[in-house]
Amino acid sequence: MKLLSSYFKEMKIAARGFYFYIEIFFAVILLVILLVAVNEKSVSKQKEFLYYDMPEAFKEFVIQRQIDKGALKLIEPTEFKMKAIGFEVKNEETGEVETYNFDAEIISLRTYQEYDLDTGELNKTAYIADNEEDMIRLAYQEQKIGATVAVNDQGERSFRYYNQGYETDKFVNLLYILHNKTPDVLAAAVESQEVTKLGDIQTLNNRENLVPVMVVFMGSLMGFFIVMAYIYLDKDEGVIRAFAVTPSSIWKYLLTKTMVIMTTVVVSSSIITIPVMGLQPNYFLFYLLLIISTFAFASLGLFISSFFDTISKAFGALYIIMIAMMIPAFSYYIPSFDPVWLRFFPTYPLLQSMKEIIMINTDLGYVLTYSAVFLGGGVLLFVLANFRFKKTLTV
């Protein structure tokens, strides 16, 4: 009862302040950007360096067949300015290490655009190198995938990939699938088990792909920040002290703050998610994780604010935490950047979970596991914040 009346009072105050509207306004802006400025269709910026390790005539035959089907289109050759460079390449299977050294030069490569045969979409740009060394060197310098395409005795095509060394397995598997999608690729060449496992992989279009990042940004970061803003507004007005001399407990006060944040976040995230995703996401899971994670980050905000008298003193901690929470967004957009340490940042699993939720084939286990982790962490932080607040009320 006290909790509910406190909640309504806090909502009333929030509705009369500007933080609430900032968040809503922000959500609307993001939605407009998503709908107007982000093209749903993915304009592929993927590049691929290929070397065909086969007789010239056979190579031309293979390429010509693709062109006839509409899968490849020859465009203007591309010039690459190559730097003088030296590096090592390690074969993952044999462990052999080979050293390469190159001089600076300019290489011109035959360039093709690859199209998706089903949709007719541009998939990526492929550059055909004349020798394997050039291909390896280009892949290294441009930080892109390189591959040697060969034909075995049975006439089956096989690929040997040159990766940067930090890609995830999932990413490497995705490479196989991209090739597998071209119908004339012989299935035997890519018969690895991962392929069948990931065979029904579903991807999000550009616009949809932005939704998890925006939701996590609005929920966690804004929740964390705004709860602190609210606490410092109250500290400024001294109303926490007035609250402390009533029979009501501090935890109720703190909980109503997180409830206000959760309400705001539910509203702002819905503004973004519903128009973009429609009915596709599992909204029960979506709101469950949204509310739990917002609670966790708001509790973190409460905990941090219990250490500082004023928001300016808290600013350093606030800044560092906000930046740290944003780093996993890089990994989200750059699949090849996925170091292990990044997984310990709470927004990393949160982004992945949100992505899982808005996709059709949600990995329920992953989402529920992390929902439980966030709930546990949130409760722990909340208890700590409550404990700290009880100790730090001053006259």
């Binding site: 009862m1 006290k2 009346s5 406190s6 009072k9 009333k12 105050i13 009369r16 302040g17 007005e237 001294g238 109303v239 002290r241 007035a242 609250f243 402390a244 001399v245 009533t246 029979p247 009501s248 407990s249 009880k390 100790k391 009320l393 001053t394 006259v395």
Partner: protein
């Protein structure tokens, strides 16, 4: 109602004491004045008694509860009026009171009645953020009465208010005292203490110098003075004499018996003069 034994407090947790080994008892129904200059430790003591500050040394029992233990229900019996007003500026005067009332488990007073009492009627639907300092202070004061407190903490209840409003506040405090409310009143205004308090404590540098009723203090320390003007040899002579010393009293008798008295006024030493006399310090 309040029992304090050997209470000490240091904000820096060292030997720099804001409150130094103080002890006192407050009876039920008493209005107890805590007097001292700025920085004496008044608000610190009140902070400990109301549980806002963690108690460090000594033993404090307030309204039957040991303040060391966290028992929030004790606040059903307690009202606190803060030195610095602290109300929600985004809420109206009435909303501030109505919301606060909901936090108690006991019957509360009508918010409109309280607003009327402190002269804020007509302002009930204005946001507290638009209030003047004095109005906010009155709202904070009114809020402290919501739960009909048995024990009432008043930190500088009239400071910064204009005389007419201060008089209203004083009347309210007197009225509550008549109803049996126990009050712990903190002030550096001796007149307020004199007018309202049954007993006063003089506190300075965190130490209590003495505790007594204003009347006793005046009897004990107040040199009751008499100004006499009389005619001697055709001229008006003026003398100021103390009523407490034997010598002066004989002299008064002498003058009255032998001279023509023009005027004769007695005047009382103020509590402020007594404070200076006892502590050697001014009340700033």
């Amino acid at each position: 109602m309040i029992s304090v034994k050997n209470l000490s407090h240091s904000y820096s947790h060292d030997d720099k004491l804001a409150v130094n080994n103080i002890s006192f008892e407050i009876e039920k129904g008493e209005t107890f004045g805590f007097l001292g200059p700025s920085g004496a430790g008044k608000s610190t003591t009140q902070g400990i008694l109301t549980g806002l500050l963690k108690q460090q040394e000594g033993e404090v029992i307030v309204a039957g509860y040991n303040v060391k233990k966290v028992q929030n229900e004790r606040f059903n019996k307690i009202g606190v009026s803060f030195e610095q007003s602290n109300v929600y500026s985004k809420l109206t005067a009435k909303e501030n009171l109505d919301y606060y009332a909901k936090l108690f488990d006991v019957p509360t007073r009508d918010s409109m009645e309280l607003l009327h009492l402190v002269g804020l009627d007509g302002k009930e639907n204005d946001r507290a953020g638009e209030f003047s300092k004095g109005m906010k202070h009155r709202l904070t004061f009114a809020r402290s009465m919501l739960n009909n407190p048995e024990l009432w903490f008043l930190d500088e209840p009239t400071t910064g208010l204009d005389p007419a409003i201060a008089a209203t506040i004083k009347d309210i405090i007197r009225e509550q005292a008549a109803k049996g409310t126990t009050s712990f009143l903190t002030t550096h205004n001796m007149y307020i203490a004199d007018e309202l308090c049954d007993r006063v404590a003089f506190i300075i540098d965190g130490e209590i110098k003495l505790i007594d009723t204003p009347k006793n203090l005046k009897l004990q320390y107040g040199r009751k003075l008499i100004d006499i003007e009389y005619i001697e040899n055709g001229k008006v002579v003026k003398e100021t004499l103390k009523t407490v010393t034997e010598e002066d009293r004989r002299r008064i008798g002498e003058i009255v018996n032998n001279h023509d008295i023009q005027t004769m006024h007695s005047k009382e030493a103020t509590l402020e003069e007594i404070f200076i006399q006892v502590t050697g310090r001014e009340l700033v």
